[in-house]
Amino acid sequence: MTGTSTDVRTTTTERAGADEPGRDAPVLEVRGLKVVYDTASGPVTAVDGVDLTVNPGEFVAVVGESGCGKSTMLFGVAQLLSPPARIAGGEVVFRGQSLVAMNDKQLAPIRWKNLSVVMQSAMNALNPVKRIGDQYADTMRAHGVKEKAEITKRSEEVLALVGIDRIHLRSYPHQLSGGMRQRAMIAMALLFAPELIIMDEPTSALDVVAQRSLMLQIKELQRLLGFAVLFVTHDMSLVSHFSDRLLVMYAGQEVEFGATRTVFDRPAHPYSKGLLEAFPSIRGPKVPLVGIPGAPPALNAMPPGCRYEPRCPFAYEDCKTVVPALYQVGGSRARCLLHSPDHQPPAGQPVVAVVTDEEVL
C-alpha cells in the first residue's frame, strides 16, 4: 500500500509469535472506509475515506478535532455500528478475514477473544445493573471459561493490573470513580490475549501518574503478548511517548498518517501542524493561547475543495476547488495540495515544511 509499513517494522521489536506463518501480514487493514448516519434531514457522511494498516504488536494512535469522526471510525472497524449508522463503503480486514461481511454470530467468537474494544464512555459500555465481577465472568463464560476459580483468579489479576482493589469486583459501575470505570474497562479488554485492542480515549479520566503507570503496563504486556493497539486520544504527550504511528483525522477524513516521530518533527498537513503547536505548559511564562481559529465544517456542508481550507493559514486558490488526495510525503502521506505536483502554490506563498525521504532517514 504505502512505504510506511517498512518504517514501522523497525520499531516493533520482539513480537511474540514472530515465527508463526503470516507474521508479516498486518493484523488490521482498513481501506476506503466510509460511514454514513441516516438522519431526518438525509444521510450525512461522518467518516469518508480512511485507509489504515495496523501491524502485529504495533501501537497506532488516532487524533483529531472533537466531532471529526474518530469514534465512528472505530465503531466501523469493530463492526459495532447500529442504525442510523451504516458502513457505506470500504473494507475492514482483520487477520485476513473481511469483517464487514460477517454477521453477529460470526463476530461473537472474535469479540474480546481476538479483538477487544474499550469505548469512549465506560459508563455506557458497562452494564449499570451488573457487578463488575459478574460482567467479567459473563464474558469469560461466553468464551468457554467455565471454572469458577479460574474466573475469579483472572478477574483479580486484571484488576490488579490496572490498580483497582479487588473488592470492587463486587461493585456496580456507579460505585466507581470515572477513572476507575475506565480502568475496569481496560481490565476487561485484557481478560484474554487479543491480537488487537481498540481503545477510544481510555485514559481521559486518569491522573497523570496512574496514566503513565497504566500505559507502561500496556506497553509491557504488548511486548510480552504481541497484541496491537489502535488508540484514540487528545493527549499529545501520550501519542508522542507511546505510539509507533499516528493517524490524524479532520472532518471525517484521514489527513495525515505516518511514523509518530516524523509527524511530530515535520507535520506534512497544516492541520497536524496547528494541532501540535501551542498547548499550555507547566513551565515557562504564561502566554494567552488561541487554538486553531474557526470551526470544522458541518457534516452536511463540506467545502467543495479541501475541507481544512477555510481555516488553513497556507491555503491558496486551488485549495478552494480541488479535492486533495492522499499524497506520499517521505515515509508518510498527507491530504494536502502542497504535496501534489500538479497544484503547487503560486510563487511567493509561504509553504509548510515538505519532508523528503532523505530528511526522514
Binding site: R170, A205, V209, P280
Partner: protein, 346 residues
Amino acid sequence: MSTPILEARGLTRVFRVGGFLNRHDLHAVDDASFAIGGSEILALVGESGSGKSTIARLLAQVYTPSAGEILFEGTPLTKLRSRADQMRYRAAVPMVFQDPFSSLNQSYPVSHGIERGLKLHRSDLDAEGRRSEAERVMEAVGMRPASEALRKYPYELSGGQRQRVGFAQALAYKPKVILADEPVSMLDISVRIGLLNLMAKLRDEDHVSLLYITHDIASARYIADRMMVMYAGHVVESGPVDEVLQSPQHPYTQLLVAAVPDPRAMPTMTAEQAAGEPPKVIDPKPGCRFADRCPLAKEVCRTTTPPLLELQPRHEVACHVAADRVGRGAESEELGRAADLVGSAA
C-alpha cells in the same frame, strides 16, 4: 479573604461497599476543609478515585455528607430548607458532570435541557429570550451553528460535543459558582483552549467562580488561581497555583508534578515510581495514606494522620515530613493524633 462564596468544613462521605457478607466502609472524602472565593478558579487535582467527583457532588447536593458542613455565602446548606431557597442554590451552583454520556437526557433534543433550566431559573426571560439565550451559551462553548446544534439529540453528538453541551447547560443558569467536573477531558487541544479561555472570561468579566476538577495540570496552571490536591480522600496540599506547581511540598504532589508529560520531551517517570497499590480508602486506619508509596515516610507517618497545616502563607500541606522541615513536626504529630482520636471515637 472576605466571606467565601462556598466553603466546606470537615466534609466527609463514607460509602458502604462489598458483598452481603463482607461489608466495608469506603472513605471517599475524609475531613476536607476548603473555601472558594468570589471570582476565583480553584483547581482540584489528584489521584483517580481520590474523591474529587464526590466533593463536587456533595457541594451540588447530589450526595449528602456523612459528616461536616457546607456553607454558601456564609449560610450552612442545611438552613436552606424552603423549595425556593433550594432552587436558588441549584441555579447559583450548577454542576457539570464528569461523564456526558450518562448525564444528558437522551430522549430530548439539546435545546430541551437548556431551555428547561432557563424556564426554572430565569423567570426574567420570555420564550424568545430563552431561545436566544440558549443559542448564546451554545455559541460560547463552540457549538456552531448553534440553532442547528440545539436541534440535535445527545446520541447524535460526539463525546466532546456532549461534554460542551453539559457546560452550556450550566452557563444558562447565570451561575455564581460552576462545579465543573473534568469539563474538558474529551476535547482536543484547540477546542479545549477555547473552553479554558471561556472559563477565565467568566471569572474576569462575570465574576463567576469555578471549582475546576481536572487531570490536565497544565490547563489548571493556565487558568486557576489556586490549586487543591487530593490523595485517597484527603486534601493533601492547597495553595496558589504557581507556588504549588513550582515548589510542591507534599510527596504525592511532587510525584504528580514530575509526571506531567511534555510532548516534546521523553517521559521522565520510571515504571517503578509510577507503580503503587490502590490507595487505602477502604476501612482506613490512622496514618498517612501515601506512606507506603512515599520515599520519605517515617514511623509516625504510618500511625498518625497528618493534619492540613498552613506551612507558608496560604499554602497548606498535610505531611509530617514537610511540617518538620519548617520546624513544626511536633505540632503536626500532636494535632494529627488528637484528630485520629476524635475520628476513631466517632
